[in-house]
């Protein structure tokens, strides 16, 4: 372990632990959380690791408090994270909205289990995907990433912090129980300063600083507490000064910017992985652990001479609208396996716009798809017409 306390090298580790290490490597020095299966291991590892690297771990009284606390910590200038699963994620929604409104960088990890309600606490679901996008009241955009392995847990946690610092909003890691709990090799490179993104900040004590003045870019520089800016921020609709303004005009200016800073930067944000996509006629669109199962099925299909490919959505939100739209004109069908009763499939269907068939392969949760079920769907589409 180098001096800075970050791990480097090769480890055999589960996804939850890899996520914690990714956070430490990304410079996260504050974690507030509340235990919940199957995310608890992240909190546990942070409770051990943060004091070692000079950070602070606190277990709050609930998830609402955890979410509020990481927002506070972020305004103190510290990279902050929390982790949870479905029930806690639901509780965090209101304060994720506050994070959006105050434009507060932070990372929220959801290790998904099967719901609704308490459901199957120890077993997988991918059922909070639309909730990630729409779970808080009001109009906003969000960024959500979906790792498929402990390695990606590590990598995408760093990525999540970078995106959150760059675009000033809570970034969600929408993982799942299988990825969180399975152990694989994780390679942790040495993280250089240039690998990390830090929020733009005003000069310390700069006079005339306005918290939401953007200087042309869509993301305003962010002051932090204790530096003499004496700034004000509010969850109310506000102007550049951060002052509440109760008009629809102020609302429009603010919301348009909050939405545009994501929508107009979608190309910078969105990541997809192509798997055997060359000449693919049937494209399996998948994410998280399901992307791996899909790849397994795609490989088999190719072996059977079916031109199948897999488009892995590493970024769930903003949705890879353009990519799906382009593919729709080229391919015969999209197969969308999800461990839910249909979520991302709605987006695929919308963007396919009738130009390619869209076939959902739903799963109610508790385990991953059997590859054969996805293969069957591929074959069904292949046989079409």
């Amino acid at each position: 372990m180098p001096d800075n306390g970050c791990l480097t090298g090769e480890f055999f580790m589960n996804g939850d632990n890899a996520c914690a290490e990714g956070a430490i490597s990304a410079g996260c020095r504050f974690f507030a959380g509340y235990p919940i299966t199957p995310a608890t291991e992240i909190a546990e590892r942070m409770s051990r690791r943060l004091p070692v690297v000079g950070g602070t771990y606190i277990q709050m009284e609930d998830e609402i408090a955890s979410m509020a606390a990481i927002l506070g910590a972020s305004w103190a200038g510290v990279k902050a994270m929390t982790s949870t699963s479905g029930p806690g994620f639901s509780l965090m929604m209101e304060n994720i909205g506050l994070g959006i409104m105050l434009e507060t960088p932070c990372v929220v990890v959801n290790i998904q289990r099967a719901g609704p309600s308490t459901g199957l606490p120890t077993l997988i679901g991918q059922q909070d995907i639309m909730q990630a996008r729409w779970g808080s009241h009001g109009s906003y955009e969000i960024i959500a990433l979906s790792p498929d392995s402990p390695q990606q847990m590590f990598d995408l946690t760093i990525k999540a912090f970078n995106l959150s610092e760059k675009y000033r909003l809570p970034v969600l890691i929408m993982s799942d129980e299988v990825v969180g709990h399975m152990s694989e090799k994780v390679v942790m490179p040495e993280i250089r300063t240039e690998d990390l993104f830090y929020r733009e900040m005003p000069q310390k004590g700069a006079a005339g600083y306005l918290p939401y003045k953007t200087n042309g870019s869509l993301v305003p520089p962010m002051a932090i507490a204790g530096q003499g800016h004496h700034f004000h921020v509010t969850g109310l609709t506000h102007d550049e000064r951060g002052y509440p303004v109760m008009t629809s005009r102020a609302q429009d200016q603010l919301i348009t910017r909050l939405v545009d800073k994501i929508r107009l930067n979608a190309d910078d944000i969105i990541m997809c992985n192509d798997y055997m996509m060359e000449g693919a006629e049937i494209v399996v669109v998948a994410y998280g652990i399901t992307a791996r199962i899909a790849q397994f099925a795609v490989k088999q299909a190719r072996e059977q001479g079916i031109k199948a490919g897999c488009l892995q959505l590493v970024t769930l939100w903003p949705f890879a609208e353009r990519r799906i739209g382009q593919l729709a004109s080229q391919v015969k069908a999209f197969v969308v396996p999800e461990i839910n009763r249909g979520q991302i499939v709605y987006e695929v269907e919308r963007c396919a716009c009738g130009r390619a068939r869209t076939l959902l392969v739903p799963h109610s949760g508790g385990e991953v798809h059997k590859p054969a079920i996805i293969s069957a769907a591929i074959r069904e589409c292949h046989a079409d017409r």
Binding site: F12, T37, P121, L123, H181, S183, E184, R292, P371
Partner: protein, 182 residues
Amino acid sequence: MSKTEIRLAGFGGQGIVLLGNIIGKAASIYNKQYAALTQSYGPESRGGSCRAEVIISGAPIEYPYISNPQIQVILSQEAYNEFGANAPEGTLLLVDAELVKMDKPPAAKTFTIPASRIAQEMGRSVVANIIMLGFFSAHSDVVSHEALEKSVVDFIPAGSEAFNMKAFETGYNYSKKKHGPA
């Protein structure tokens, strides 16, 4: 591409998940193979049944679950009844003879070791799993002996290396004694 599936099954508190981790790490870090470890979690597993499953492969593992394990390590009667008893021919079954009663010989190639009793005799019943690991090492070369040794050291509390190594070798030698080189 070579791919081996391993199931470790028993009950909570036997250190089964630890075994999975040791094997997984040995394979992936020290033997430079691909390895994926999954396990059954949950309150129901506490004190009750417990399972860890490892895939070791020369190629990336997409589907991380096992379907027909070539090797099963069985540490409880319940686990034996559910899995071990039906292990098909051509697979390897390693059983703690102290904890499992086998009514009729299973189809699989079966080796037994009273690991938990040996551990008790050694004075630290917690090392039963490491003894079993030694026994495993004697019967399978899916992971190298050296890799397993290194991996054991990574996972056990500092200061207990010698004792664990002794347990590991005890299990290994038990087999050698009983069955000769694997």
